[in-house]
Amino acid sequence: MKNRSWAQLIAPLILLAFPLFVDSDYYRHVVIMALMWVVIGSSWNLLAGFTGQVSFGHAIFFGIGAYSAGLLKMHLGLSPWWGMLLGGPMAMAIGFVIGWICFRLRGPYFALATIAVGEIFHLLFKYFNNFTGGMEGILIIQTFRSKLPYYFLALGLAGACVLTIILVMRSKWGYYFISIREDQDAAESMGISAFRYKSLSLMISSFFTGLAGAFYMNYMAFIDPEVVYSLHYISIMAILVGIIGGVGTIWGPAVGAFIMVLVQETFRSSIFGLAPDWVSEAHALVFGVLVMFVILFMANGVVGDWKKITHLFTGKKQAPSTNGSAA
């Protein structure tokens, strides 16, 4: 217990202090992106890792959040910051409807349905360009020139998201989520309405993903359907972030997000310009290989299989785990 609270203290402290040590806006930008991915990855993980419903459609909520902010500006001339208020609830509402449709399906069928819904959103937002701006996209001018407000906002969002998940997972809902993941039939016979709690999980998850989307609009200042509803760059990335860090662990997606963003940035800059140019083209490849490696050898991700990793280095044999906590 003591160690856990240590970790919970140290992580935010390091991140809080980070801008003090690093004043390059570029590196701050990298960490801001990582923090945004912490939110998306953790939200996805709440639904997939803890509740067992693998979504391939988190771009939907990200997009809804981003467009909530963007459309306010485009149609009403309101500051996109209002989107930070509207984006979450909108995504949540859409999440509820999608859950209502898709939770009839289990396992891989649910996953497939979310891909389909995601693509439908993607294409419809492109098609109704009078309303959404279509592929011309929505562009705003950032409110702040400094990175600091965005940095702390992203940090706050990530903190709020992780904290909410910690709290939820310690409550009745958390117990119910995991029960549904472990065995839906058993859960039903324990008095748990699988449908209701899957929906709740999806709503929390979509709420934070929507917030991340609204943040993206404000920070990146440009969106179009290809960017925010991207199956590959948002939905699947969210999954890969979760997998690399560790599905079903509180901190896994956070770690995964940092790994993903750092690997991609490192390789995109050709390992800081030290390596030949072609290396920069390999950034997605390296990440793909990393994903395959993790799935093959660390099924529970970096955080979930932490013991396995440390034992690899210390040479200790892995002790059979007879106890431990799932939450």
Partner: protein
């Protein structure tokens, strides 16, 4: 008003009748045994009672209220708990977490639920293993966990599905004792069991079914000596 009543319940899978016009009544506070050869439809009956399968025909009344058509979790909330023949431990949760999840049935408070879970675990003599992952339990403990989890929902009626199968004789003895204790705490029980020694020992009344139909119903000795029942079990000569 009877405590629990199944009226002419029928279940077809495809064209096949797994349960056919079966009617029985369970009185409050008794242990009611449900026996029959393999594949005779006992587990199907349980699945019908707790709403896992919809009925093809008939009605199920619990405390005078019709419960067929309700979803499983609602039936559980009304006070019918069940265990599974093939145990369904929530594998990546500890024993305590398993039972706590179920103890939330009538409370939203973690402390209350945990306290209730600890109490139930002690009652089931699983307290010393509460921090074990459910996947690491022996079969005996898993069956106990299954009972503990259903007990934690505070049921009025408990459906036990072959909780003794695969246990050592000693474990069976402990199981019988546990089930008695449960009944004595005021829970009505319907038990499906293959091990006749257990059934004969435990039950107040027994019903034997075969091909989804009732063969006999009555006191244990009566049923055990019923010619149809003997034939169904041992086969005709």
């Amino acid at each position: 008003m009877s405590f629990f009543e199944a009226i002419d319940i029928t279940k077809h899978f495809g064209g096949l009748a797994a349960v056919n016009d079966l009617g029985f009544e369970v009185r409050q506070g008794e242990i009611f045994g449900l026996i029959g050869p393999n594949g005779s439809g006992k587990t199907t009956v349980f699945n019908l009672i707790n709403g896992y399968y919809p009925l093809t025909g008939g009605n199920i009344l619990f405390e005078g209220r019709q419960i067929n058509g309700l979803p499983t979790w609602k039936i559980c909330k009304l006070g019918i708990g069940r265990t599974f023949q093939v145990v369904k431990p929530l594998r990546r949760m500890t024993v305590l977490e398993n039972v706590t999840a179920s103890a939330f049935n009538h409370t939203g408070d973690l402390k209350v639920a945990k306290a209730k879970a600890e109490e139930v675990l002690d009652f089931c003599r699983l307290g010393h293993k509460k921090d074990f992952l459910a996947s690491g339990l022996t079969i005996g403990d898993r069956k106990r966990l299954e009972i503990a989890r259903s007990l934690a929902t505070s049921p009025k009626l408990l459906l036990l599905d072959e909780t003794m199968a695969g246990l050592t004789p000693q474990e069976q003895g402990e199981g019988v004792e546990l089930i008695r204790k449960v009944r004595d705490s005021g829970v009505t029980i319907i038990i499906v069991e293959h091990i006749m020694r257990v059934i004969m020992n435990l039950c107040d009344r027994i019903m034997c079914i075969s091909y989804g139909m009732k063969l006999a119903e009555g006191l244990p000795e009566e049923v055990a000596n019923n010619q149809d029942v003997v034939e169904a079990y041992l086969g005709k000569e």
